[in-house]
Symmetry: C2
Subunit: 396 residues, 2 copies
């Protein structure tokens, strides 16, 4: 006598998690060095030393209540100010504490914004390839998910396809750049086209259409590629952020929703976000981590390690004959299955203990997601297996 | 263009929070020592020294990924084992890691269980006086809240009233003992009556009726009063717990759902809980705190401080002529307004900077909740104000 829907959601593991758990089991059998686990997005780079220093400093110098007591629901005002001011300064916008609602990471941030925007079966558009949990976040919180197929050429936003999917019930487009799983960064040009389209349609329908900018990989970009901050391009953008990737703190559940002043009825929208958070049992973000990130807003991830991984793997795979659009950011590589569909190729690779995520759930059933936030030597050890697999391509 | 329901929820502050914020403002005007803030349940006792020690030890000895990396959704298995084993040992039950799902505190734990149990407009019964957020947790997650009026005599469970409210659609009764706001601890006798009633009705309807045991105050009890662990009395009990009160860590958002083996289809129910958590964006409980509480399972709150507060205030109020059932646990006192209704009395008290929460939202519009997790000297300074207020009782 429980909800069959929740049961199904809880027992049907994410494919990513399943591969990850399989990898742990196999490591126990064949040895850790013989498993090439590219499944999960757990940052391989440790948290910056300053995070550790600040954690200890806070614990040693503040009193228990200041560290561990309730904060207000949107968070400790000093922490919100620190986060907002740094963000505003970086992108030349006027952002302050009142625009920042600290959350337990990006996942509940997105759920919160979906619930705040949902007017009852409102439509939320995603752009393939997309993070599979968007489906859960939207559909289990009363919304309807609408999928725009991928632009396979460069994984930018396929504006013409998107156009066909916007209607009066469209409340938001979820934009994730740098993208998980493709590693694409939507260019300013692409985003300006998106903005123009949404503005036009919003005028036609007489109501705003929002961008939900899911940005946990914001700071992970290579080769000097520009990562535009979407609120500077489109005013009705609500940002969801997490420190999981940039500060390597995925287990700590600390992130935020930013509702810039440019959003229509910004203060009221912020209240709707607060209400939506309250409706899922949000009390506050973890208080010690609120204080910690407030003291670390200037820190940036160690992109050299991620770039080195990308370069090694990308160059090797291309030389073997794999097809892959070169990732500009994040720590994933999105590779076309060289034969069969992604699921069958993933199954074949799995037999050699090479764990690649088939991207059917990401909206691209021919592609595999390869997580590159791994130890560099594992990449090197895995290369012969990648090579063998493509060489075994069946002849037609 | 946002959800009016979420907007309302976000802009209509809890009365508790409103008084709390008012208190902060008044303190700046009349001086902190002249404001008697009994509004909020922020533990006045600091976290035990061992929590601090363990936090520092973990940060100094484990590597970044072990501390801050993702754990599995139900939590780090060692932490779950430590929590489950200690609980089982304490209450003579067989509880282990597989029964424990670590959460970001009790609030999302309750939301999660409501979502796991809700079959679509299922009914969830609460017993007045009840924590007002239950209404939000149930109604904004698809359930229907049914209120059983309080037994004003001793705030135990009014079985006859409850009986009338159980029907085929009843999925659960939410039980909170030691109780916020009354301080009552439901006796074994009361709970056995409740169990017998639910078992009988479950047989009649051919489906289980659950108890959701919300137990953040489990360890805060005085005078040796027994706090029965409800799963030992009723098999279909799902426990929601938080370390907010027992370890004075309310800002850290760490707690759990416990689904004992005795629950019908326990493993499947656990999956439903996992699915429900996933549906609201739960990824894992804060990882550093998971490791910390796992090393502190034997710690108990400093009840001497809370008992001293209760005794001072209770004895004084009774001597002045206030009516109040003596609290057996938690850190609240539930006092009948000596004249007018609770709201008007709260308003009068507020003018003297004495902040008492009117309990209309708790289902008892004649009562006031007084939070006794405050500095003892504030209680002493407040006594003349309590005395004056009752002496000013208007003559009929």
């Amino acid at each position: 006598m429980f909800s069959p829907k929740m049961y199904e959601l809880g027992s049907r593991r994410l494919c990513i998690r399943e591969l990850f758990e399989y990898g742990l089991k196999q490591a126990a059998i064949v040895g850790k060095e013989n498993v090439y686990d590219f499944s999960i997005g757990n940052p391989s780079v440790p948290a910056p030393e300053k995070v550790k220093e600040k954690l200890i400093e806070i614990i040693n110098t503040l009193d228990s209540k200041s560290i561990h007591g309730y904060t207000s629901a949107p968070g400790n005002m000093e922490a919100r100010e620190a986060v907002g001011k740094e963000l505003g300064k970086r992108y030349g916008m006027d952002i302050s504490g009142k625009n920042i609602f600290l959350t337990c990471g990006a996942a509940p941030a997105i759920v919160t914004v979906v619930r705040a925007l949902n007017l009852g079966q409102s439509e939320f558009i995603v752009l393939a390839p997309y993070f599979p949990e968007y489906k859960n976040f939207v559909e289990n919180n009363g919304g309807k998910l609408v999928v725009t197929p991928a632009d396979m050429k460069d994984f930018q936003i396929p504006i013409e396809e998107l156009k066909k999917r916007i209607n009066f019930n469209t409340q938001a487009v979820i934009v994730n750049s740098p993208n998980n799983p493709s590693g694409a960064i939507y260019s300013r040009e692409t985003l300006e086209k998106l903005a123009a389209l949404l503005e036009k349609r919003a005028r036609e329908y007489g109501h705003a259409i929002y961008i939900i900018a899911d940005e946990p990989y914001r700071e992970i970009a290579f080769d000097g590629v520009d990562v535009p901050f979407i609120p500077t391009i489109y005013k009705n953008t609500i940002v969801c952020y997490s420190y999981s990737k940039s500060l390597s703190l995925p287990g700590e559940r600390i992130g935020y929703v930013c509702v810039p002043d440019s959003v229509e009825n910004s203060a009221a929208m912020f209240s709707a976000v607060a209400g939506a958070a309250r409706s899922i049992g949000h009390i506050c973000a973890p208080s010690l981590l609120q204080l910690t990130i407030a003291r670390c807003t200037e820190l940036r991830p160690d992109n050299d390690a991620y770039k080195k991984n990308r370069d090694t793997l990308y160059n090797a795979l291309i030389s073997y004959g794999y097809e892959c659009v070169k990732p500009q950011g994040a720590f994933y590589m999105f590779v076309k299955a060289p034969y069969g569909d992604a699921q069958s190729f993933s199954d074949i690779a799995k037999k050699r203990n090479l764990l690649l995520v088939p991207a059917g759930d990401f909206g691209c059933p021919q592609h595999l997601r390869i997580s590159t936030c791994v130890a560099h030597d594992m990449i090197e050890r895995s290369l012969p297996v990648f090579k063998q697999l493509i060489e075994e391509k069946p002849q037609k």
